[in-house]
């Protein structure tokens, strides 16, 4: 998985948990909370959906790594690739 593919995975999740938001122009380097109506429960949703849909665990100490699309991809892409290598 590339970083860009990983961002798409995260955006697909956000599309479901924040269905009123326009996601056509999300800036990858800007904090998601600064450009979208997302609260702490929504971030827990992102963590839950990564777990349910993709088997990816994000420990609480790492939640901050999901702040922006860029930081999410940087953090999650190796996890996706490690998981793919195992299977």
């Amino acid at each position: 998985m590339t970083n860009e593919e990983c961002k798409k995975v995260v955006l697909d999740i956000i599309a479901d948990i924040a269905p009123d938001e326009d996601l056509s122009n999300v800036k990858p380097d800007v904090r998601l909370r600064d450009q979208l109506q997302l609260d702490s429960m929504d971030f827990l949703d992102i963590v839950m959906e990564l777990r349910k849909r993709h088997g990816i665990e994000v420990p609480e100490a790492d939640y901050i790594r999901l702040a922006s699309l860029d930081s999410s991809a940087e953090y999650l892409t190796p996890k996706f690739n490690a998981l793919a290598a195992k299977s």
Binding site: D20, M48, R51
Partner: protein, 412 residues
Amino acid sequence: MTLSRIVITGVGLTAPNGNSLQEFRRNLLGGVAGIEWLDVRYMGRLLAGVCHFDPLRHQKKKEVRVGTRAGSISIWCAREALADSALGFEAFPKDRIGIYIGCTEHGNVETENEIFAISKFNYDTKYWSHYHNPRTVANNPAGEASLNLGITGPAYTIGAACAAGNLGLIHASQMLRLGEVDVAICGGVSESIHTFGIFAGFKSQGALATNDVPARASRPFDRARNGIVVSEGGCLYTLERLDDALARGARIYGEIAGYGVNSDASDYVLPNPIRQAECVRKSIAHAGLVPADIHIVNTHATATPLGDIQECEAIRAVFGSGCPDTYINNTKSFIGHCMGAAGALELAGNLPSFDDLMVHPTINVDDLDPACALPGLVLNTPAKAARIDTILNNSFGMLGINSTLIVRRFVA
């Protein structure tokens, strides 16, 4: 102490056969029921009353996703009731508005959904939703309405089984009289059709209706009745003190005339006609009336073989044969049993009688059970009355909670 007079100045509702008072009333007078087939988890196709309002009229998609069905029903009804009352809500002090919503139960839907969801993950609770607690707290339906509307006054639910809809109005009247709030949004809601447990429970109890034709399934007082049709729904009213309503020139649907609430203290499930009659008598005395003054008795009857007979026994004991101007009807024959919403919805279905002098019937009575024969029972087609000044609304619930509410035509 002189108690303030309390009046109804707005109605917001969703019923299986209508999403406004006008549509609901038209269908009650036109004999149009609202029962359909519903796929219920683990159980298959069952009869149910389903509401078809559009939640996105008053909620964002995210609110619908995060919230509950009972929350959506509450928000719909609250916003429709406020709009109907022409209160000038935007400018009204939000801390002076109370929300009091009756519920039969709350939380079963979300709990069942979560257990089903984690069953797909070998019951690993790390997949349990972080929304479970806010969705299942007992105040959820009222709390969601307060969030959506920005109402900062008291907002909570009243658990009173299927008597809850009336209790919402009664409690709101008390809070208005105490001066706790200036406007009350009150009534009842139910999301129960989204839990299999309520269907399974009634089925195990031998009290779940079956019929090949959905519209014919809910048949109180008919000899062939065979149980309850479970329905969802909601009805919330805007209530105000009369002086406030008059000062702003509000339209007044009717006045809270009196009420009675008591408990059977005799059985978990079985009704008690002696206590029911006592509750009805209390309400009539509270209103300063006598039985012959009551023009419509809207029954609670749910179409269970025994329950209907027992309520008829209670009504017979109070009204006997000396009340020639008293009509008796039943709304569940159209919409099934809307549980916590039942009392509030069934009252709404009758309120327009003050204006049109029509009494909606009890439908689906092909063969009247002689044990349910009552003078004034309106069967299958509407009746035209000479005058309708009072409506008495019965709602009873499990664990023996009884409520009777009387609304009278407003006369200054």
